[in-house]
Amino acid sequence: MSGAKAALVLFVAALFQLAVLTEYHPFRASSIVLVALLSVALLRGSTFGAVAGFGTGLLLDTATLGTLGVTSLLLTVAGFWIGRYGETTARDRFHAPFLSVAVVTVVYSYADLGLRFLLGQSAPAAVVTHALLVALLLNLLLTLPVYALIRRLFPPLELGGRVREVRLLG
């Protein structure tokens, strides 16, 4: 059920990104797909995040007739990494989604640049550096509503399990 819900959420986010956000030049730097994916990964863990990232990347690469696998690779790693962060240290921390989005926005931008450079495509580092601050700000602004919505759709699993998990050893 969670898988189908995540697929639907990320599909809608990808459509919104492709058909709406890219129409407005200032929003080209932002990525609602990345924010939605990281929110899902934080709430559902690393494996879920990696699979969701792979699927979303494939969808974006297909819809834009880009080189298949490029966005998949980046989003798989991003989903897995933030999923692990969610599983280990980020539980119940208010700053976790914001920190995740900020760090991944920066790393994703330069990883995309590096991958394009390796593939022999145009990779002007100055463009990424100039757009980074705007991307960071917009993604952080998107984080609050997107994470709140996704948290509603995917309630944290650990809350139900916490009481049952406490056991006395001594």
Partner: protein
């Protein structure tokens, strides 16, 4: 349960653990943390990364996946159109509000422009008629013009996704006769070339991409021939490069595509597509070429529809 709550406070400290009240919280059920789960997790992620690398290799080196990609992209098109239609009223409202704010000053500016252009039109019509007559008399064969191309109009499905991306996706593909390398324009000027063409959609590499370049000439001074390409740095400015110092290019001159008459290496671009106006020129004693910046006619950030030029058979 109540006794457990009394003996083990929620905010227990290290001191409690040392004193023997050892309580261990196991991982939540949603986050598998056993050794087998960790191995499973690594296998899944490793597999996905490997699959991504295989996809990159196959997609980059061959066209084996092009058919599948085209079919899936075609299947996604109705969803993209639906999303576009849903968002259009909001976009129109924003455009209307923006237009209202600048309507008065725009109106004044446009009225002045219309008067100037009307005078220019009369002069140009005379020149065009004279040009046609002279060409016929001389049996002149020039570079291919726009008349040799069929025009395929297409909506823009997706503008560039990221700051690095300098390509758009359009709703016309090989089914409409569009092929790789076809030139894409708007009524304002040159946009770019078709990079990938599938069933009903195509990807267009914009002129602002670092790998795009077009042979161009100055409309006022046709002897000034050079290459228009993206300038360095992070800006979207175009430069008119490789123009010798001798034929002077002035600020405000119109730059158009040069085309070519060579049959061995014909230019993809027909002659006479407007590119932009010269915004600045400079030069120094060391450089044998002028440094010319061009302000493009096309606003690459807000493309809604384009025209693909398909050569007539």
């Amino acid at each position: 349960m109540a006794r457990l709550a009394q003996s083990v406070p929620r905010n227990r400290t290290v001191r409690f653990a040392v004193l023997g009240n050892s309580v261990q919280r196991a991982a939540a059920p949603g986050y598998p943390s056993s050794r087998s789960s960790a191995v499973k997790r690594r296998i899944i992620v490793g597999g996905l990364v490997l699959l991504s690398l295989v996809l990159i290799t196959v997609s980059f080196r061959s066209s084996a996946l092009d058919g599948v990609q085209g079919t899936v992209a075609g299947a996604l098109r109705p969803f993209e159109i639906a999303a576009d239609r849903v968002s259009r009223p909001f976009r129109d409202a924003a455009g209307w509000a923006h237009g209202l704010a600048s309507a008065k000053s725009d109106n004044r500016k446009l009225r002045t422009q219309v008067q100037t252009l009307q005078q220019q039109l009369i002069q140009d019509e005379g020149a065009v008629n004279e040009n046609v007559q002279l060409k016929a008399q001389l049996n002149y064969h020039g570079p291919p013009s726009l008349q040799r191309f069929r025009r395929v109009s297409a909506a823009v499905l997706a503008n560039p996704l990221t700051a690095l991306d300098e390509s758009i996706t359009i709703a016309a593909g090989s089914d409409d006769g569009v092929k790789n390398g076809n030139v894409v324009i708007t009524p304002q000027g040159l946009v770019g070339t078709v990079d990938k063409s599938r069933g009903s959609i195509s990807r267009v590499t914009l002129l602002t991409d670092a790998q795009s370049a077009v042979t161009a000439t100055d409309l006022t001074n046709p002897a000034a021939v050079g290459v228009v390409r993206r300038g360095g740095g992070g800006s979207d400015v175009l430069v008119f490069d490789r123009v010798p110092k001798a034929p002077y290019v002035g600020i405000g001159d119109t730059v158009i595509t040069a085309g070519s008459v060579s049959r061995a290496l014909p230019s993809l671009f027909p002659h006479g597509i407007p590119i932009g106006t010269v915004s600045s020129t400079s030069g120094n004693d060391i450089n044998i070429f002028q440094t010319i910046q061009v302000e493009p006619f096309v606003n690459f950030a807000t493309l809604q529809s384009v025209i693909v030029l398909v050569p007539k058979r």
